[in-house]
């Protein structure tokens, strides 16, 4: 055999593809690129719903990842057009079903903007409390499932223990745990039951210690860091290019949160920080979400302090007929900017009601994030983008 060192050019020429080797009548070597198409099917525990990815892999390395969505498409926007405005609110629950109150909120906010309705203060404070409880609940689901996907089984149980308590609060308030229908145009459907506030205060006092527990399990964990640091790095400019919002944007260094930039309800007077990190990898997004959970607790406490007696619903006509105009309103949902674009034609049904879901827009970046990573990193990336297929597909 030849003992001379092999040049780079020779090496590059030697590493071909398996097809070329086979067509030349030779057996492919270990180093040849062997492209395989793999279906990360809609039924998969790690896709957080019915998401299908068509992967082109070379061994474990991903060459291309194409999402194929639409498995949960239910024609929500078409249904909005056939029903009156208040009838649309339960449909919005089913979109981001993990944080349903935020969907209700965005929908109601859009129609209130069309009508020019003012929401009374007590309703604003309670709406913020419900929103923030949903943010906490959504981040707990994210923490649990995303950890579970990467092999951290323990946080899953404890995160869902907290979530059960939050769902109990919602069940007491509006009767439902998941698809809440807990907001109306102009305010809220019900007032708080006696004792709800005290129990919520007790719960909220416990939460920071629980978040400490999760952090103790994961934040400095060598295995967790190994699986998340440097995975799915995206820069701030690219985030803006791709229209990514929410913890992804804040993990890449852009300190932008709609609750601070374009405050709605009573967010102007509340004091909370916007956690931001700079590296833009999965670990940073994890830290951002965990810090957001802590800030949520602050917000809920401040709202509970400010609660006074008052109306829970603004002055809204019995039959809602907005002027024949169009409006776009958005809120900061746990996943990003959730907006509704409503075109009214003066009747009691929307002419066009379009939802701008953060998960749909954020999922666009998955092919860009996944390129060059391994299949096991893909699972981490789906978790870090934090999608809910109900929202992606509507």
């Amino acid at each position: 055999m030849n003992d001379e060192p092999i040049s780079q050019a020779e090496k590059a020429a030697a590493i071909g593809t398996a097809e070329r080797a086979r067509s030349a009548g030779e057996a492919p070597t270990l180093f040849d690129v062997q492209e395989m198409e793999l279906n990360f099917g809609p039924q998969h525990p790690s896709t957080h719903g019915v998401l299908r990815l068509v992967l082109k892999v070379d061994g474990e390395k991903i060459l291309e990842a194409k999402p194929d969505i639409g498995y949960l498409h239910r024609g929500t926007e078409k249904l909005f057009e056939t029903e009156t405005y208040p009838m649309g609110i339960p449909h919005t629950d089913r979109m981001d079903y993990v944080a349903a109150a935020t969907n209700n909120h965005a929908f109601c906010l859009t129609i209130e903007k069309l009508l020019g309705v003012e929401v009374p203060r007590r309703a604003q404070l309670i709406r913020v409390i419900l929103d923030e409880l949903q943010r906490l609940s959504s981040h707990l689901v994210w923490l649990g499932t995303s950890g579970l996907d990467l092999g951290a089984v323990t946080p899953f149980w404890y995160a869902f223990r907290e979530r059960e308590q939050i769902l109990d609060f919602f069940e007491e308030y509006c009767g439902a745990r998941l698809t809440l229908n807990c907001m109306r145009i102009g305010g809220l459907p019900f007032d708080l039951t006696p004792g709800w506030i005290e129990r919520l205060l007790e719960f909220v006092d416990d939460v920071p210690a629980r978040i400490d527990d999760y952090e103790q399990l994961l934040t400095d964990n060598r295995i967790w860091k190994n699986r998340t640091v440097g995975i799915g790095v995206i820069s701030a400019e690219e985030c803006v290019e791709y229209g990514l919002t929410g913890p992804i944007l804040r993990g890449s260094g852009v300190e932008w949160d709609l609750r601070r930039a374009q405050p709605y309800e009573c967010y102007e007077e509340l004091d909370f920080a916007i956690p931001t990190r700079v590296n833009g990898d999965t670990y940073d997004r994890y830290i951002v979400r965990v810090q957001e959970m802590r800030q949520t607790v602050r917000i809920i406490r401040q709202c509970l302090d400010r609660l006074e007696e008052g109306e829970i619903r603004g002055k809204v006509a019995r039959v809602i007929k907005p002027p024949a105009q169009e409006v776009y309103a958005s809120i900061e949902s746990p996943k990003g900017e959730l907006g509704f674009y409503c075109v009214s034609n003066g009747t009691n049904r929307p002419y066009r009601m379009h939802c701008r879901p953060p998960s749909f827009i954020n999922l666009q970046a998955l092919p860009r994030l996944a390129k060059g990573h391994l299949v096991s990193d893909l699972v981490a990336l789906i978790g870090t983008i934090d999608i809910v297929l109900g929202e992606v597909d509507r």
Partner: protein
């Protein structure tokens, strides 16, 4: 986006009790926005592009000619710093000519505000795609194609996204029935000849081909 409206003064003839309900805040009114600085900025570079402009509830809507939409979007991105494309969607005005309105929303971090750009499109006409200018518009344009049947010229990968390939029709058009159509998805047509959609004897069954 808090409205700063003073409520109209209560009528002098009312003799309500001291705890009377407060008067409703004034509703937002639509106003023409042709002299808005952003609209002027577009018109300065593309004089024939802007068809009209309106402001309602502190949101500016600019109606732009269909052929110039990509140029206007690029101008808004580079000159006016509307770097974030929030959304692309469409509205089907059934009897109006042109039939559709393709609606774009852009947001500027420096201005902390949004602008809405619309372009009227007739059935069958193509709209220049902005997916190369704003990467965020890629899937939104695919969704608009899927739901309305509006083609985007120059889109890198225009195919259906929410419905499946081989689906007939565009669901969000006003002439697509809410009850659904026979999508030809029959698996065992000998056993269950009704296939997809409502059953054969359902009075609401409509077939769109």
């Amino acid at each position: 986006m808090a409205e700063e409206q003073t409520p109209p003064p209560p009528p002098a003839a009312s003799a309500g009790p001291a705890a009377a309900k407060p008067a409703a805040p004034a509703k937002p009114e639509a106003a023409d926005a042709s002299s808005h600085p952003w609209v002027e900025s577009i018109r300065a570079v593309f004089p024939d592009a802007v068809l009209s402009a309106k402001e309602f509830a502190r949101q500016v809507t600019v109606v732009v000619a269909r052929e110039r939409i990509a140029d206007v979007a690029r101008h808004l991105k580079h000159a006016e710093d509307f770097r974030y494309c929030v959304d692309v969607t469409a509205v089907d005005w059934r009897e109006r000519q042109p039939r559709f309105d393709v609606v774009y929303h852009f947001y500027s971090f420096s201005k902390n505000d949004r602008i809405r750009v619309k372009c009227p499109v007739a059935d069958g006409e193509e709209v220049p795609s902005i997916a190369t200018v704003f990467l965020a518009a890629n899937w939104s344009e695919r969704e608009t194609w899927d739901m309305f049947g509006i083609r985007f010229a120059g889109h890198p990968d225009l195919r259906r996204i929410l419905t499946w390939e081989g689906f007939h029709g565009h669901p969000l058009r006003k002439d697509f029935p809410v009850e659904g159509i026979d999508t030809g998805a029959a698996i065992y047509p000998e056993e269950w000849p009704e296939g997809g959609g409502p059953a054969q004897d359902d009075p609401n069954r409509k077939v769109v081909s």
